[in-house]
Amino acid sequence: MLWLLGLLWPLMGIHADGTLSFGKAFTVWLYVLAGTIVIVALVILHKQGLLTWAGAPLKMLRAPAAATTARIPTWIWIAIAAAAAFVFPQFADRYGQDVAINVLVYVCLGLGLNIVVGLAGMLDLGYIAFYGVGAYTYALLSVYYQLSFWLSLPVAACTACIAGCIIGYPTLRMRGDYLAIVTLGFGEIVRIILNNWMQLTNGPNGVLGIKAPGLYLPDWSGGFSFEHLYLKKLHYLYYVILLLAIFTILAVRRLNISRIGRAWEAIREDETAAELMGVNTYLLKLLAYAMGAIFAGLAGAFFAARMRFVSPESFTFLESATVLAMVVLGGMGSIPGIILGALALIVLPEMFREFELYRMLCLGGAMVLMMLFRPGGFITAKRLGRRSEDKEG
């Protein structure tokens, strides 16, 4: 039935300012149609087993490859990845570093959202609000009180956490779907408040003059003293966010394999059963929500420090949707999947700059397709089951 959707598009494009012009709509329609035909063809071929000839050499390669990867312990892979991430700014130019910083910010956000969506199974559509809270916390502290970045970081995490609790407290009593729309509403409320509270946030004009993170370096020239250095260079900032990202990855991983993580997954699989087994579902859901908010707050503080300017424009619903798409496409609940998702969703649009306009269109389409054909994401998390309540039609 995909053709039906394809057929309906040109109708939308009757461009009537007295005349009818199909031009603009027609190109869009053509792209969508081409994409649809390719996907449908692939699916049909796959179903009829005609793609096996293409998959066969890959499969033959996969078996020995899997054997060798299994022999090398995981920590070597992680070490290689970490080393690559560490030396990256030495080889990349300014632009590359900029993109890399973006990727790492979104890795932090994606992992934070992963706690809420992937582990605890609650759909949060206002996640970017916490990012905004973190960013504004540091921005205001820096501008009004000249507080340093490192001191503000825990403060930003705390305010984001408090915001998370305020939002989570009333909404988490109910299950499932309502939460999505309530968080969507809350995300909008936060944005509207940031936009309209002129005295505090300077409204849509944003906050200017935020300090970059500073560092005290020991200085031995002429006695022992500390020299204060603002990390304005891009590759210093890269290391700051790399540190934050590594911290986030470790924290989320530890949470995932802990008692709390198991309890979250139990809630995701079946809330009633989890409650019967003695899991305090309400408190744990609130904890998941607050944890997610904390990581967003940290990333937000870094965002403010890096841009040295914040405005409500950066915290729209589309950002929330992008982060959610990373989690969903990468694989809910799987850490490497989300890193891959963040990498893909930041780097691919950079590579296809001329299709900038089509970015969100593709994102939306990709989310639907992913759910249809591979609900687990690119890299499916290991422990993933179905909710018992969803099984009956």
Partner: protein, 303 residues
């Protein structure tokens, strides 16, 4: 007092529009327990169809000779178009996921919503599209209060559609089939109701009503924009929850209340925060009375 009455009339107009959108949410949720995120996009698509058709009529000069006929035609065609669009969307993005996890269905719905709103942006451009002016200008004056003909038209069309829907749902065989499918899909399939058809039809009706609302918003505010579906979508959902999700009368009432609160809140408290009031209502309803005013689906697993 004049201000109060004026606001009452404005609130009534806006409330009717929210009620029309809310009905789509509540019907779809009632039948398959899914929040249809793309519903706001049907509303926007309806608004765009209205602008396209009305400008087309205006360019051919029919608008000057038969304005009411043109409006009726545009309304009907836009509703039809959105109904088909909704059926296509349902087939593509929701039907295959009916038996998968709820999170998957929600994400798919959200993806569809992003896809549609960006599709609108790409085909129609980023800027506001103006509605052809000169339609139903002027109005009655009662002392200091003005009731424009446009407002009367909107309210009359809304009431007409609501009556039509009530007859459809509560008096016809199709309505009976819809209600039974909402209660128990397996059982109604056993007595010979094609639930796939009914679900598809529910989407179509909801989208048709949303399209009508889209045209009326376009006429009322004079222009449409590709992002227009987002915020009214949430507000209409708040209305549906307020009325008790799954309940048709409740959605109408909820829409009216949300519209009134928004207009009075904007008039008496603060115009800048007018979008916040609906959310505050939504959250307080969920907190104090999750089943809404006329709650039907009090089933614990659903709420």
């Amino acid at each position: 007092m004049e201000f109060f009455l004026q606001q009452l009339i404005n609130g009534f107009t806006l409330g009717g529009i929210y009620a029309l959108i809310a009905l789509g949410y509540t019907m779809v949720y009632g039948i398959i327990q899914l929040i249809n995120f793309a519903h706001g996009e049907f509303f926007a698509a309806g608004g765009y169809m209205g602008v396209i058709l009305l400008s087309f009529f205006a360019s051919k000069g029919y608008m000057q000779t038969h304005p009411w006929l043109c409006l009726g035609g545009a309304l009907l065609l836009a509703m039809l178009f959105c109904a088909f669009l909704a059926m296509a969307v349902e087939k593509v993005a929701y039907k295959p996921l009916r038996h998968s996890t709820r999170l998957a269905a929600l994400v798919s719905a959200l993806g569809m919503s992003i896809f549609l709103s960006n599709g609108l942006m790409l085909t129609q451009g980023v800027y506001d599209k103006p509605y052809p002016s000169g339609f139903a200008q002027g109005g009655f004056e009662f002392g200091l209060i003005t009731v424009s003909y446009l407002q009367i038209t909107i309210v009359l069309v809304t009431i007409g559609l609501l009556i039509f829907l009530n007859i459809l749902v509560f008096k016809t065989r199709i309505g009976k089939a819809m209600r039974s499918t909402a209660q128990d899909k397996v059982m109604s399939a056993l007595v010979g109701i094609n639930s796939n058809k009914i679900i598809s039809l529910t989407f179509a009706i909801g989208a048709g009503l949303a399209a009508a609302a889209g045209i009326m918003v376009g006429l009322y505010y004079g222009s449409v924009n590709y992002t227009m579906g987002f915020v009214p979508g949430i507000k209409a959902f708040a209305a549906a929850v307020l009325g008790g999700i799954g309940n048709i009368t409740g959605a109408m009432l909820g829409g009216l209340i949300i519209g009134m609160v928004e207009i009075f809140g904007a008039g008496y408290i603060s115009g800048q925060y007018k979008d916040v009031f609906a959310f505050v209502i939504l959250i307080s309803v969920l907190y104090f009375r999750p089943t809404g005013i006329m709650g039907e689906n009090v089933d614990d697993t659903r709420v």
